[in-house]
């Protein structure tokens, strides 16, 4: 069995982004997606702090302290990009103008409920940032996550045990084992890594899985 690396999960998610899409990338794993957009596609990345047209991370000598991304890292702007205020940035999110929000997740339920903002660690006052706005507002929400916890427990659950970010918002799930769609009939496996049986995948997943008729192998280049 060949589970994907984190970079390969990001690569796989990148392949599904349509040319011309307006996309918001969450902090962490989703951020890597920007590196793997196929060269023939022009994607406009949105940042919640008032940017459209985010480019690659700048070279050290090109860092501008007034230009950061949602993760507070140094950012750059592509030709055609624009700056606007926070209210317009979230109007774009909540109003469904952002086509796609790629987010990380602690857990996803079989109905597409998303939990990704707090693990209720008693020592940590939680932060929510723009997670709920993105989950409730973007035209489509897809998540990238490790299929199981470090202890091997499933992250795809009958219902989320962590507090919800938004109910029923996730449409597609990219993991190190599989690509899975959330459908009205439940979780539908679109792709699975070579050498992993459906029963092995089911064992790592709480809700029942159905294999799509046209399922394929989940493969990614070494990236």
């Amino acid at each position: 069995m060949k589970p994907l690396s984190r970079r390969q999960i990001a690569w796989r998610a990148a392949q599904d982004i349509a040319d011309g899409a307006y996309v918001n990338l969450g902090i962490g794993l989703p951020t890597l997606v920007a590196d793997f957009i196929p060269g023939d596609r022009e994607i406009v990345f949105h940042s919640e702090n008032g940017i459209l047209g985010l480019g690659k991370a700048p070279a050290p000598e090109e860092i501008d302290p007034d230009l950061i991304n949602a993760g507070k890292g140094a950012a750059s702007l592509l030709p055609g990009g624009s700056f606007f205020h926070h209210n317009d940035a979230f109007l774009m999110i909540r109003g469904g103008h952002v086509d796609l929000s790629l987010m990380g997740a602690f857990e996803v339920s079989e109905r597409g409920d998303l939990a990704n903002w707090t693990t209720d660690d008693p020592g940590f006052p939680p932060g929510v940032g723009g997670a709920m706005d993105l989950a409730a507002g973007a035209r489509e929400v897809r998540v990238l996550l490790e299929h199981t916890t470090k202890e091997g427990q499933p992250r795809l659950r009958h219902r989320c045990h962590y507090p919800l970010t938004a109910p029923g918002c996730v449409k597609r799930i990219y993991t190190n084992f599989a690509v899975i769609d959330v459908t009205p009939e439940g979780l539908l496996v679109r792709e699975v890594v070579e050498g992993m049986s459906l029963s092995a995948l089911q064992e790592a997943t709480e809700p029942p899985l159905t294999l799509a008729n046209d399922w394929r192998l989940l493969a990614a280049p070494a990236v």
Partner: protein, 223 residues
Amino acid sequence: MIDKRVQSLAEAVAGVRDGATILCAGFGAVGGPDELLDALLEQGAKELVAVSNNAGSGDRGLAALIANGRVRKVICSYPRTDRPHAFEAAFKAGKLELELVPQGTLSERMRCAAAGLGGFYSPVGVGTRLADGKETREIGGRLYVLEKPLKGDVAFCKALRADRWGNLVYRKSARNFNPVMAMAADLTVVQVKEFVALGELDPETIHTPGIFVDRIVKVGGKP
């Protein structure tokens, strides 16, 4: 590759369906998409609901659509501006429904739709005939009426300049309703005087980011 430029007015207005709600920008004779609306007359869509500050002036644009019986209903703040004979004739003949909305409420209802909100409480119109039938609520000792989002199927706008991503810049008071209408429709079509190369518009001073824009067409100006 993102290129929102279309080659003709006919292409710009293609696909507008009978019964569509169309947002028509402009204030009086300034900033209105007359050429696009003339093309819509050619295109033939009927039973339209037109949202506009004024209900047409003279013999072209919205006035021509009304005169030709293409408009079922007008939602506006001030129907009779300069040379309102098309509106007056249709209204008096009982062929045109009128929904009168205070100007700021009209604008805010479109922004509400653009921002993905379900409604808002406004102090405007409270205690007047225009609040008849609307839910009234006391908040913090003041009365408000509940206003609902107003979304367009199509917005017709006019700008000075655009690049191929659909970023827009307006000129002086011709900006008026254009930015809010551009955000508030499923399909946003903009006539512009000039196309410029991507990157030529200053990212600090783009008035409408391209995320809100679907089609741009050049009208007049240099060939």
